[in-house]
Symmetry: C2
Subunit: 362 residues, 2 copies
Amino acid sequence: MGLVAVTWHNFLRKCHPQKIRSLHTLKVDHQLDQILLSPPLASLDIRDIWTPKSYCQNIPEVHKSFNEQNAVVLDGKLISMEIKSKIADEVRRMKKCLGKVPGLAVVLVGERRESQIYVRNKVTACEEVGISSMVTELSTDCAEAEVHNAVMQYNKDPSIHGILVQLPLPKHLDEEKVLDAVCLAKDVDGFHPLNIGNLAIAGREPLFTPCTPKGCIELLLRAGVEITGKKAVVIGRSNIVGLPTSLLLQRHHATVTVVHAFTENSKQVTCEADIVVSAAGLPNLVRGDWIKPGAVVIDVGTTPVEDPSYEDGYRLVGDVCFEEAVRVASIITPVPGGVGPMTVAMLLLNTLDSAKRILNFT
Amino acid sequence: MGLVAVTWHNFLRKCHPQKIRSLHTLKVDHQLDQILLSPPLASLDIRDIWTPKSYCQNIPEVHKSFNEQNAVVLDGKLISMEIKSKIADEVRRMKKCLGKVPGLAVVLVGERRESQIYVRNKVTACEEVGISSMVTELSTDCAEAEVHNAVMQYNKDPSIHGILVQLPLPKHLDEEKVLDAVCLAKDVDGFHPLNIGNLAIAGREPLFTPCTPKGCIELLLRAGVEITGKKAVVIGRSNIVGLPTSLLLQRHHATVTVVHAFTENSKQVTCEADIVVSAAGLPNLVRGDWIKPGAVVIDVGTTPVEDPSYEDGYRLVGDVCFEEAVRVASIITPVPGGVGPMTVAMLLLNTLDSAKRILNFT
């Protein structure tokens, strides 16, 4: 992991040497006992009171380190390492008390390069924190029954507390059926419609919150960004990022607008946002002039682009034109090294939480 | 029903004599065989293409009847009567073919006046279209087990195809538990988290779409309002109206913003909307200067306000200041006589659809 972190720092050093500023220059008082700053969801359901007085007119200014030249670049890698360190502590405590560790099962179908990399990263992350992991790899042309059987085996397996089907699946497979087969108590990706429904409905609580949205919120909270009452724009409405991120931001009482391919004048809409979360998967969709000065920009987009100058022959590119946005935003996440590592950390945390719930360990 | 329709017309005649313009002056080509103009949900899931060309730059101008003085007032009562007439035809056909009619069960707890009126209206509407109805009335202080038992009885009853628990429940009852007890196949209100989850997730389809949001969309479609790409603002985020309306508008490819009590400058946000759906339950929250000239305004708010000049001692007041908004909007719904009757019609339609599905009748 040290190597990866260095790689990310090298990336930043190469491209934006002046911009390497740790989150810790922003906010240092978050070292609580809890793993996340994110509160339990139910506590966010406070009553809507519609008198003008309830409007948040006196939100404290959070962009204390705001500098017209450069946004603060959030170090997702570093934050995820802190979170993983606390998860590792909890896994050790569980092992000591129960003689058991959380177990994550991954079902990977086909040879899509990015999927293979994501799965490899997840398995490595499990090893780092002491979570056991199992991967079932199936060929691109496998029958739906094979995928279904793999999921059902893991549903029954008492050593497995989280099951993750790596998406996207090859087109001949029915994603809906496969995801529905994952038993609710092990749905650590949080993609089951009952989890999404319970995320959407005020007063209810999903068993699991999808990992990337959860990681985005945690980044915002750790950076001290006030979410309540702020205008948030989520770009993209995928089932795995855009949709649950918009639902989660709304739980945090942001005024959320979802921008998608049919939005007229996406730039104008995005320009008005205090918080922009972009998850369209289109390199450089969000230019500097899409960003309101001082806005907070979370870049979820991670598109591999061929580049022979990189060791692997490609580099990962975000939705946001970083060079431009960093001069306008107050806080920004880089790609890679922003949301990506947070997603993996949240997956580990969901798996830990699932094991605790299943094993009744507190 | 004739009486109620007359009452609504009297209301309009009294308050806004010049504004009685039927929807039919707007669009007359919707007399299709199908009961609704609303398409099946799954068909709305078209692929997001993010090239600028896909942006809807050439939306046809829909406000053909727009007049600077007065918006077209949508006659929800009349439209709902048309829909109910078609539902009645279908119920007769079912009775002729199967010897069975759809059955709706209502569970009403307590003596809340509005709830009693709503339930009475629903029962009357069932009678009008030939749907059988049963009502279980329980006292305000009844035990949760009594409510649960009533629901479970209806779950088992083969003559019942739709079950509706009238909300809100008295505070000592756990609404979540009660709603979850309604079997999914009879959840005609569409409030079960699995239905909400499947409404939210692209590519999935809920068994039932909540009645009020479905009625709002049907009003928009019948008025010829283009939804795709338009800016829509939903005011209020209740589980029964605001949330599902925002999800449904997004399914129709609007760019949706949800305004709630924590929104900073709700007026400014609402001002930018092409379509405003207000469901806050606050009389006259939305003033004329909240509305963009030419916008379409759907007023879901229905708050009873004491008024001794009315026969019942009260009148129903919307969220929108009608007198002001009607001079700015291109299309507007009145309260009463706008969304309210559409909600009841959609409940009947959901019950019919449920009976068709359960009885395998096409």
